[in-house]
Structures are given as structure tokens and as C-alpha cells.
Symmetry: C2
DNA sequence: ATATTAAGCGGAGAGCTCTCCGGATGTCAA
DNA sequence: TTGACATCCGGAGAGCTCTCCGCTTAATAT
């Protein structure tokens, strides 16, 4: 009876484990809203969820992973929005479509910035090569690469769409975005325009 | 007699303090070389220098600051190289000069990466807006802005040289650079070419 | 030489991240 | 139902960052 399920995920999650996961999520959500993500420690979350620290760390190696789980649904919805947008604007030129994607992206990170930044100061998060832990990155990169390729298709098949996409993505990473907004003082619209004139020539 | 000195820096550094600073620098240098920057804790440095943790933190709020002090001279020398290069190539077009600067920059961060990255996982370092704590940033930015301005001078006085310079600088930040090198697998030369074709059009 | 005082020292300790492992407990097969 | 066992729990504890504060000491004024 459980053969098929076991095939899908090698072992069922135990009931107590599932319950604890829920408690963690609820506790974290509550504390994050109350005090802000940065101000809440894994210890506090464990205490609020009434579990031991070991139990918490078993599931989430650091605060970042926990945050990611907390916004998983939002991320899925975000990519659904992107997909729908791309579908409805197939006939538009690729540069226009890329700009449209940025227009969807920016409000999203404005809203989810805290959770996306997550636990930046975590020791184990340091090891990861870059920001690839961010689930947005790979998917967004893929989309951007395709659009850059399409933009360059007519001319030369410039092999650096991958590079360009990386550059665009770090340009709109949380840190960079808020640096432009808060330190340089640009409005989101100005940032968008600057992005386009820097990375997408004729828009 | 000490009036003039006091005028320069409001109070002389006490002799014991100066000695401790030296001990710290020596201890840190030794440990960093022995085990790598990441693997060495502030505690260890204090112990090796035979001072209390409080004494260490009085001078360096985190490992990053200590690292910065350790490469201060290298940074000065780096900018002297830049200045000299710019002087010797005044007649070259600005895009060529910018590429030349990148050629000087890249080996520098290859050599000093560990110390430049410093104590990334430090709590107080998190607060800082971005990577402005990096002493390279502001000066490099200023230089890049001037060159971008010069590049755009003939055409329109495009007001986004500041933005472009920011984008170029995060593109060559330690994290981004090593991501391209280690994950994407580009050689330094390839990175340089991609950078030019992305940020400096006709080079 | 001595007193004054700002600067510096150092260690105790709070609170954190993360690990480890003995014991408990759900799950599945028989 | 029961036994076996993989999974999970929880908390002790190592080691870290960083602060606080009473004490010490170097520099200066007298």
C-alpha cells in the first residue's frame, strides 16, 4: 500500500517529525513577524516551538534554510507569474520581456527581502559558493539566458549570455538592490531604467 | 614638544597599546598563514597574542577590520600602481584604460582574496549596508565613474555612470569573481573579456 | 616627584551556532 | 500483536563573538 509513496520519497516523514516541522514553521513565522528575522535566533525559535536545538538543526541547517521553507510557496507563485507573463507576451521582443520580468521581480524582493536574505551570518552558509543557495537564482538565470540568447540570435550567437545573465542577477540581488535604493537613493523605477540601459541596450 | 603631534592625532597611542597592536598583527599573520583566515577565530588570535579578548576587540571590532589592517599596505601599493598606469596611458581611450585597470585588479584580488573577504560571517559586519567596508570600493568606484563619464562625454552626458560603476564593481567583487572562475569555470582572461563586452561596449 | 586622568587591559559571562549521541518512538514486516 | 530498526528527539557542551566593568598604567600637568 505504501510502496508507491515510498518510491516517491524513500521513507515517509514520521508523524512526530511532521508535527515538529509545523511547530517550527509557526514559531518562526510568529517570531520573525514580532521581532524581525535578524533579531531572532535559532535558539529562540527552538524554545518557542518547544523543541530542543538539535531537533531544529536536524531539519534546518541554518536560519537561511528555514526562511527558504517559509517562502517556498511565494517563490512558486512568483515563477507562475513569470511564466504567465512570458506566455502572454510571446510576441513582444525579448528585451521588452526581460524588462517586464524585472518589473515583476522587484516588488517581490521588496516584500520578501528579509526572508530571502535569511540568516546571512551563518557559518555553514558561508561555505556555499555564492548565492546559489537562493532558489530564485538558478531559475531566474535560466530564463535570463534564454532571453539574452534570443536578443543576440539575429546578430552573432554571442556565447556570453550566461555571463550576462549572471551579471544581471547579481545586479538585482538583494544586497545590490537595496544598496542602490537606500545608499544611492534611487527609486525602484530609476533602478529599473538604469538596469535596462546597462544590461539591455536599446530599451 | 608634543603639541604638534597631538595636533595631528588628538592623543598619542600609548606605548603598551602600540605593542599590543603589533602582537596582534604578528599573531594574526602567523595563524592566518598556518590555518587559513576562515579557520582562525578571534579567540585564537587573542590567545596567540597573549592578550584578553576584550583587548583584541577594543582595536578590531571584527576579523574583517583586522584583515584590512593586515593588507593596508598592499592596498596602498595597488592604488599607486593604478595611478601610475593611468598616468602613463593618458592618451589611450577611456575604455582601454578601464580594461587596463581590470587587468591590474584581477591578480590583486586573486592574491589577497582571503584577507579581503576577511571575516564575512561576523555579526557586526552584517549591519554595514553592503561592501562599502571594503576600502577598495569607494576609490575604485570613483575611478570607474570618471572613466565612464569620459566614455560617454562625446555622446550624451548619461547620468548613470555612477550606476554603471557600481555594477562593474559588484561584477568583480570577490564573490562574483570566484563564482565565475570556480563554478562557471572561466579563466581570468575569459572573465576579463566577458566583463569588457558586457560593461564596456566596444573593446 | 607626584598627582591626575584618560586610555587601555583582561577576564567573566551572556548568548549564539552547531554537534554529538544515548535514549525514545513511530513504522513496517511477520 | 509484537519485534526490529530506522528515525527522531533533546539537551549537554564545545567553541565562538562580543560586551561590560573594575582595575591598571602610561602620559601629562603641576
Amino acid at each position: 500500500m505504501s510502496e508507491e509513496i515510498k518510491a516517491i520519497q524513500s521513507r515517509m516523514e514520521r508523524r512526530d517529525a511532521a508535527e515538529n516541522r509545523q511547530r517550527i514553521l509557526v514559531a518562526a513565522h510568529k517570531l520573525f513577524e514580532q521581532h524581525g528575522v535578524d533579531q531572532v535566533s535559532m535558539n529562540q525559535i527552538a524554545a518557542e516551538a518547544q523543541i530542543g536545538p538539535g531537533t531544529l538543526y536536524r531539519r534546518y541547517a541554518n536560519k537561511g534554510e528555514l526562511c527558504l521553507d517559509l517562502i517556498k510557496d511565494s517563490v512558486v507563485r512568483f515563477f507562475e507569474d513569470i511564466e504567465q507573463y512570458l506566455l502572454q507576451n510571446q510576441q513582444e521582443p525579448p528585451d521588452h520581456r526581460l524588462k517586464g520580468i524585472l518589473k515583476i521581480y522587484m516588488p517581490f524582493i521588496e516584500k520578501k527581502a528579509q526572508l530571502l536574505t535569511g540568516g546571512k551570518g551563518s557559518a555553514s552558509a558561508q561555505r556555499l559558493p555564492y548565492q546559489s543557495q537562493n532558489p530564485l537564482y538558478n531559475k531566474m538565470h535560466q530564463i535570463a539566458v534564454e532571453l539574452f540568447d534570443e536578443m543576440a540570435a539575429a546578430d552573432h550567437p554571442s556565447p556570453n549570455s550566461i555571463f550576462k545573465a549572471d551579471m544581471l542577477l547579481i545586479a538585482i540581488s538583494i544586497d545590490s538592490y537595496f544598496y542602490q535604493r537606500d545608499v544611492r537613493g534611487y527609486s525602484p523605477d530609476e533602478i529599473l531604467e538604469h538596469l535596462c540601459s546597462t544590461f539591455i541596450k536599446g530599451v
